[in-house]
Amino acid sequence: MDIFTVSLWGVTGVAFIASLVENKEKTFDSMKIARGMMINMIGEIIGILFLIGLILTFIPPEVIKDILGKSNLFISTFISAFVGSITLIPAFVAFPLVGSFVDAGASTVPAVAFLTTLTMVGIVTFPLEKHEFGLKFAVIRNVLSFVFAIIIALTMGVIM
């Protein structure tokens, strides 16, 4: 375990004990939620993790590097942003997936675009958003989020 993970466990451990001392019942309720969330997502998580292995085996790093690293950055960023908008995987499992692509040599610019639209733009949840807030709100918010995802990605490409 790296220092980062260890310290995260440490912080969480302290928070857990503090929570336990303060209110036992509330803490156990929250642990029930944690367990429910984990059970709900575990199938998807295992699926994605083993999918990473398949991708890395059958798509050699050179290909990933060529397509997502060296080819036209604008096009690959735009496509990644679009894929992120229609994909329905939780951000939680997206990080190792994107991490594996970056490790294999993909540029971070399309990676950022994908991660940002994945969470902020929701084409699948669009009908729900339209229903709750009206068409105008939903369209403008989603379009702006898409545009800014690309701006964030390109800016990161300049900074990093």
């Binding site: 995260l8 929570s19 803490t27 939620i33 699926g47 083993f50 085996t57 939680f92």
Partner: protein, 255 residues
């Protein structure tokens, strides 16, 4: 069996691929497992801690205090509150829809609602930890700063184009009689908390909580109010008499 496969489509497809590979090209199969192992170990190290931390934050951050602080308050304070509310909540973006609608009714501005929705989607403390682990601290930090700036700009632009009148909000009639419980399926994450706390009323079927039709008296109604508050996505609501049903929306059935 079929149900289990249906619920885990991705896992089923990946498993089948592996079974096929182990028969047809064992060397490729081993290589795939080897490639996955690193990410599996990393995930196992961080997954439980993220779920626990998310739940503790969810339990202890005084959301009610933040929500009550909104009112007509505008300006920087309201925006900071919005960022906090979004950042400290669990669940996907659509889980924020019911809370944001409630805030709009209470007088929150469009700017703040967009901030909550966006922050809810991208800025999660435990998720930032996950991002830093797989993509690096620097990557996470820069993306976080750029995202916060972008959210502010987006929210102000949305508020220029969308006025409150554009948002459909129905009046709620709190005086009508409670005749049952309504669970908004789209928002339920199937955490099972309601079932664990009140198994006589709730059951999780196919990842969604279901209301077991049962008679209600005042004492039970009060108990149920507690469950509603505990529901992490606020998907449980009272089903009221006719009047509301006619006004209520198409997706949520009133049978």
């Amino acid at each position: 069996m079929i149900e289990i496969i249906k619920r885990n489509k991705l896992l089923a497809v990946v498993s089948l691929t592996y079974i096929f590979l182990f028969i047809a090209m064992p060397d490729k199969a081993y290589l795939s497992v080897k490639n996955s192992i690193y990410y599996i170990i990393e995930m196992l190290e961080i997954m439980p801690v993220i779920f626990i931390l998310t739940s503790i934050i969810e339990a202890w951050v005084p959301k009610e205090v933040i929500i009550n602080g909104f009112g007509e308050k505008a300006g920087i304070k309201g925006s900071i509150f919005s960022f906090l509310l979004g950042s400290f909540s669990a669940g996907p973006i659509y889980a924020a829809f019911p809370i944001c609608r409630m805030l709009l009714k209470k007088g929150a501005s469009i700017v703040n609602v967009v901030i909550i929705l966006s922050a809810w989607a991208v800025i999660k403390i435990p998720m930032l930890a996950n991002e830093a682990k797989f993509l690096g601290l620097r990557f996470m930090g820069i993306r976080w700063i750029l995202t916060v700036i972008s959210i502010l700009i987006i929210s102000y632009i949305v508020a220029v184009f969308v006025k409150k009148e554009d948002i459909p909000i129905q009046k709620e009639n709190n005086l009508s009689k409670i005749i049952g419980i309504n669970i908004k399926k789209q928002y339920c994450i199937g955490c099972g908390l309601c079932e664990k706390l009140m198994p006589q009323y709730f059951k999780v079927v196919d990842k969604k909580a279901k209301w077991k039709e049962a008679a209600l008296n005042d004492i039970q109604i009060n108990k149920l109010k507690g469950i509603m508050d505990k529901c992490p996505v606020k998907a449980i609501d009272f089903r009221r008499e006719e009047i509301i049903c006619k006004n209520s929306n198409r997706n949520i059935k009133c049978n």
